[in-house]
Symmetry: C2
Subunit: 362 residues, 2 copies
Amino acid sequence: MKRRHFLAGTAGAAAAAVAAPALAQTPSVRWRMVTSWPKSLDTIHGSALAMAERIGQITEGKFQIQVFAAGEIVPALGVFDATANSTVECSHTLSSYFFGRNPAIGFDGGMPFGLNTRQQQAWMVAGGGKELMRDVFAKFGLVNVPCGNVGVQMGGWFRKEINTLEDLKGLKFRIGGVGGTVLSKLGVVPQQIAAGDIYTALERGTIDAAEWIGPYDDEKLGFAKVARFYYTPGFWEGSAQITSFVNQAKWAELPPAFKAAFEAAASEQCVQMMANYDAKNPDALRRLVAAGAQLRAFPKPVLDACLRATVETLDDFAAKSPEFKTVYDSWKKFTDDSNLWFRIAENTLDQFRFAAPGWVKS
Amino acid sequence: MKRRHFLAGTAGAAAAAVAAPALAQTPSVRWRMVTSWPKSLDTIHGSALAMAERIGQITEGKFQIQVFAAGEIVPALGVFDATANSTVECSHTLSSYFFGRNPAIGFDGGMPFGLNTRQQQAWMVAGGGKELMRDVFAKFGLVNVPCGNVGVQMGGWFRKEINTLEDLKGLKFRIGGVGGTVLSKLGVVPQQIAAGDIYTALERGTIDAAEWIGPYDDEKLGFAKVARFYYTPGFWEGSAQITSFVNQAKWAELPPAFKAAFEAAASEQCVQMMANYDAKNPDALRRLVAAGAQLRAFPKPVLDACLRATVETLDDFAAKSPEFKTVYDSWKKFTDDSNLWFRIAENTLDQFRFAAPGWVKS
């Protein structure tokens, strides 16, 4: 500050004369970010755009990230490899798509019956989760930065009602990640299909049912036109955290100020993406129901069986992989402690509030 | 970017020669931020420090904010006026402390039985709340930037059990904001006391009971030593949003990149402050209970009466103030829509998860 006043007359004029004086301090950086989303999803693809825009604003345009939708450079599910092999510098995706590479990845995107949005953020930020997940992704040459969450999702669109466990047998269901593995134990045939291709698969009968995220996105993707029963809850992720992967070498080269800008803008989207879904889903759900969607809840015996299958699946992974076990142990303890605490204050008030008459009607 | 390559040889050298080349582009700014918190609270005062640190990192030290705890420049509850009258450029507080200036301020800090953390963020970011609250604070010469949340709080520390509404009559209770007004309808004598002074007031018997935030902070402040019954839930705010106020004229002078840095760093703390509380509260609660704290839940008839008193209070404010009514109408509709949606997916899975046996025990 003192230097500023001292130099204002001379340095200011000299610097203005050379036209781009800040370049000497921090070089300009231009990156490409590939997402797993179609452009039509202003919630989740829009969040990647907002993150890139914010990084540009903060750095006065010195760190520019150009965002590409699924299919523009690589397919939706090709973003992990494209980032690891330096085709692009970074990506924006649900890491669970890639849990086949290492099941511990599931703890980043969200496990069935796992941590809700706030709990996931708490585990990542202040519960050791970020460090554990950085170790997991480092082996792929990637640095993971949480950049959003979509909350608890809907349970998806079904052509037939799910009344008993029998109804799951042989069901061709678009679902990715660990949830697919869990449901396969109960006879479901899971299919991993990118957002942009789900409608066609459902319409043609290649699949019997599909889940994506929730009312606002699902309405845009048109699922209600080809499947009538809309189930809740989407138990396959306690919340679905969205992750930005950065190529490890590119991250290492990034000046500290740009790393800070990237992380702050990503964190901001953890608030904004979730807020957009929370604000837009209620009206979309009303429109879907008005247009004929039939709301259904998975019967408790189905949920109970799915929880048992989840514990079996995660215990199996832990038995086979010490790396998985390390993350699982941290996550299990955090989950139990956090659930206990949430039941005492947060959930006690939520339950009272949700059971009370509405404010409009009061 | 093209210019960069063209000028790299000449401009780089010239800029380096003038020692502080970035100054010509964006001037350095140094601000002071006063908080309403004692330094001992690493959660909430620590969040102000983390926000300032991040702004410094992103801007390569060009935008520096020095943070002062309650009492260092102005008292805890003097931060609103100090920011409005330019004693300091910005502050970090719970806006509800100042709802006496205008009851509509309560919608910023959180209303009794109101929006939970995620719902509050959704209303602010994507439900019109930010714009409405900016209008309210503009009349005080302030710009409000949400910078954290503490979630649903505990119901506070009481020397005697609260079994019926009778037990509230004449109770001298440290509680601020709209919650105090609501409880006064039921005979409580509300006292607004800054964090650092609560313990002494409770120890000396100046007050009979006190609420602050939750286990981690409450343990540091020592309340368990002077009051035995620890109640849940803290219904006086569905969540307590923390706000950074910026002097309007100072905000207007701020370069766009620094505004963006300020807002992004504030948003990041919405995630990080909440995460810190969520991660630290469970162990603190265990320690408090092990040391003798007696957990109690407010009886449902007490909560029912408090909800009725809340609706009466807010309806009264709306009848007297068109400005309050404008915000109230937006907030009520948002609350009802959001509660309906949260009951369908988020809360359905939360309820199932919280009722299931723990992961450790499975």
